[in-house]
Amino acid sequence: MKIQSFPWPDDGREARESITRVRLRSVKESFEHICRHPLVTIFVWLLMGIALSLPAGFWLVQHNIDKVVKELSTDTGFTVDLRLDLPGKEVESSADELRRNPLVERVDIVTATQALEEFQLTSDFDEVLAALDSNPLPASLIVTVKKGTEREQILSLAEKLEEQTSIASVEVDTEWMVQLRQIQQIASRLTWILSALYGIGVVFVSVAAVRYAMDSRFEELRVISLLGATNRSMRRPFVYCGTLYGFGGGVVAMCIVILALMAIEPPLQELASRYGGSVGFVAMNYVLGAVLVFIGSVLGLVGALHVTFVQMQKNSYLNRAR
């Protein structure tokens, strides 16, 4: 850079200057503004917090659905109902034959007697069943396929089994898995869309709040531009202010998500226990909280950078500061 000679010799004034102190002063001014307008600040934090908590909540729901899908898909299998008159030995041999299939992980035998006992426990047909001469229920095989087996492979195996004479029917219930995967995809896309929309919303809130802050200190800005402040130094307190708004919004969002999860945890646990209680749900933790606060701060910063830049360009008084 070209350094031209200066009209006056250095009298040591520049040695007493410090950009660090200027920045600290800006941080102090940002805090002062926030403290001077507590209602506005709380309102902004709540708005940003609600806007951030919705995509965060959706993300957690989607993440939990992913987890459920992943864990439940390992238990996928089907039920083979054997013929009524099939002797016990042949039940065993059918089970052994199935166990040899490379897709099959495990085969559990439910004898006709066990099936009847279970039915009696879960139904009110005790008298009807007692009146029957023989057990109307067949023996069955509960087949668990190996992890990662595709639905089409399961259906193909079921079709082949149905052709066997010892087997009466094969019940494949993979439809709910398909539905769950579809829900998973919808939740995933919805999360991204909502995150983008609410993220833009947070930026808008930051823009409005910082613009209000600049308008409320317009006279001061005009004066300090006259006193020789640079555009950058005039923008700085407001940029920090927007970041603080975003930071606070992130903290509020974290609290909202924690409270919401506390409220829905009991029914979630109940749901998990119905499926064997093996699913550990993902909840808010330090990392997620930090990410939420970071995203809030960045969005607040983006809004503040935008509005301070636009205001400085637009305002003729401030432009005089070169």
């Binding site: 009209p7 004034r13 660090t20 006279e219 300090i224 006193l227 005089r320």
Partner: protein
Amino acid sequence: MTTIELKSVGKEFPNGFQLFNDLNAIFDDDAINFVIGRSGVGKTTLLQIVAGLLSPTRGEVLVNDVNVSDFSRVEMLRYRKYVGVVTQNSSLVLDRSVYENVAMPLWITGMRGSDIRHRVEASLRIVGMSDAHNQMPSRLSSGERQRVSIARAIVHRPKLLVADEPTGNFDRDLAMEVLGLFDLFAERDTIVLVATHDPHLVSETQRVFELKGGTIELLFGESPEQDPVA
């Protein structure tokens, strides 16, 4: 000694309006340099050009023979740390205390807190407002506000002090009192430039320039270049 020389200075605004085209004058720090002229002739614009708040569209502003109108942004920001500005309506921030108003130019530079305190106290003492530290500008009279404004203009020890209609609509006694403060700085090797539309504030014993019809002329006093001692 500090001198400011205007060489063929012109200012044209983006809408095509040409305020002046060929201003030539020399100001120095021997005495207050008054610039008089009717409203709208360009006194404020001239002061802003000298203070580095506006750029001329042509010509040179030489401060101690250095052309400041050619300064880069960084150089201009440095230059403005040596300039104090006083305006007609005092331009105090009403929701800041007197102390905070005076400290503003030093906050901008990031000076240490203890240094700021000493400087602000000294400046307020010079303008006779030592007891007004914590007062809000809205509770001060217009004369007191202007004193605070002057304290703010001198707090960073400027080498050049520009005052645009500093006496405003003050009565003559108050106006003379304020101008007396500027005399103090002129005696301390600070070049003082005062613009006023009121010809009654100046006398033939002072150095007075008149801005009229796009030109500037020395009305009273001696130009530094004509001064045999200089």
